[in-house]
């Protein structure tokens, strides 16, 4: 199982029946592949749709039914559409139960940076700031480290996406939560020891006596 699949499978386990879920681009998008249709999770696309379905078969695309990247998608039976003010009303007020987003850095208290790198081109925050400020539960799905540097940091050096801490980070090495605001190692990836996780983690984490392995 590759790193992305580990992350996506583990995040999928966090979704509950009937949840309204918004998935960001990149690894988060893969999460939908591991959610059973029986769970009746609603996926929102912030460009104005609840009930997104799989990529349509060739020839069945429609230019007016797209995801937030402008790519053709399908709509499941019972889907609904709305304008952008409504879409972000749903997000900002916590009607969206779970959002899964990528991250650049998450700090020891759960603060997230994922929208800009000073000195580099700033593409814009899109919906990320609203999602992190407003969704009921925010899960960050990302690689544990990039270019050998921990993305779980003591304090974000990059600009924050929100002053509101996130709820959970799932990486290729670990699951980290923030009970009482303190970064806590909750699970390790299959075959990865606590020591191996901590060796590549900049932030100091609370490490319980027993840290279970992810069940994937």
């Amino acid at each position: 199982m590759d790193a992305q699949e580990i992350i996506a499978r583990r995040v999928a386990q966090e979704l509950r029946a009937g949840n309204l879920v918004n998935l960001g681009i990149g690894i988060p998008t893969l999460v939908a592949n591991y959610v059973s249709p029986d769970l009746k999770v609603f996926f929102q696309s912030e460009n104005g749709l609840i009930g997104t379905g799989p990529i349509p078969e060739q020839g069945m695309e429609h230019p007016l039914l797209t995801d937030a990247g402008g790519r053709p998608i399908s709509a499941l039976p019972g889907a609904c559409t709305f304008d952008s003010a409504m879409s972000f009303g749903l997000i900002r007020a916590g009607h969206v139960d779970v959002t899964v987003l990528g991250g650049l850095q998450v700090d020891a208290h759960g603060l997230l940076a994922n929208w800009m790198i000073p000195g580099k081109m700033v593409p814009g925050m899109g919906g990320a700031m609203d999602l992190v400020s407003g969704a009921k539960r925010v899960i960050v799905a990302m690689q544990h480290a990039a270019k050998g540097k921990s993305k779980i940091v003591k304090k974000c050096s990059l600009p924050l996406t929100s002053a509101r801490p996130i709820d959970l980070v799932v990486t290729d090495l670990a699951v980290i939560g923030f009970p009482d605001g303190k970064g806590t190692l909750l699970e390790t990836a299959p075959g990865v020891s606590v020591g191996e996780v901590m060796a590549v983690t900049e932030a100091e984490l609370v490490v319980p006596d027993k840290v279970p392995e992810m069940k994937l």
Partner: protein, 217 residues
Amino acid sequence: MKAVSVEEAVAMIPDGASVMVGGFMGVGTPERLLDEVVRQKKGNLTVICNDAATPGKGVGKLFDATLVSRLTATHIGLNPKAQQQMLANRIAVDLIPQGTFAERIRAGGCGLGGVLTPTGVGTLVAEGKRQIEVDGKPYLLETALRAQFALVHAFLADYLGNLAYALTSRNFNPVMAMAADTVIVTAEHIVPVGVIAPDHVMTPAPLVDYIITNSNG
């Protein structure tokens, strides 16, 4: 509502105008109007649009033709030309959170001075903005946004000006249709009055100033 040709409609837009453009990654954008803006070389535009789309598509065409001098958007990550023009300081770009973008336009169209949003509190977005507490919780005051023109794309329009949008092409079109002095609309289909059921109209006729009738789409 007045039916006009696309040439007449775009001729009304002066150089330097502020223009809201509906659409999300070019989906739900009035392409025919933008083509004509390019043809008539309307320059120095202030564009208010969710994103910069991609080269050759939607508002991307305006960057291809270097007609934009200011842009208010939520992201421009998929349009290298817009990025280059921003980095070369040829466009002043104001990037704001997407929910805030939607609410500021809605406020402009609904006669509100602004809204209090939690989005952006404690981030770079808060710089220069008033922070206001309600029941001990901090919010940013985000003020109303309006434009001289809104270029809107509907799925159905009737001859009174009632509009309905299809699927994800609705996006910012309905809020923009309320937030500009002059609203110009293209539609995939123009239908007789009464064909759109009252409950299915998304933009009421009195909001629409002009509908392009010389070619659909």
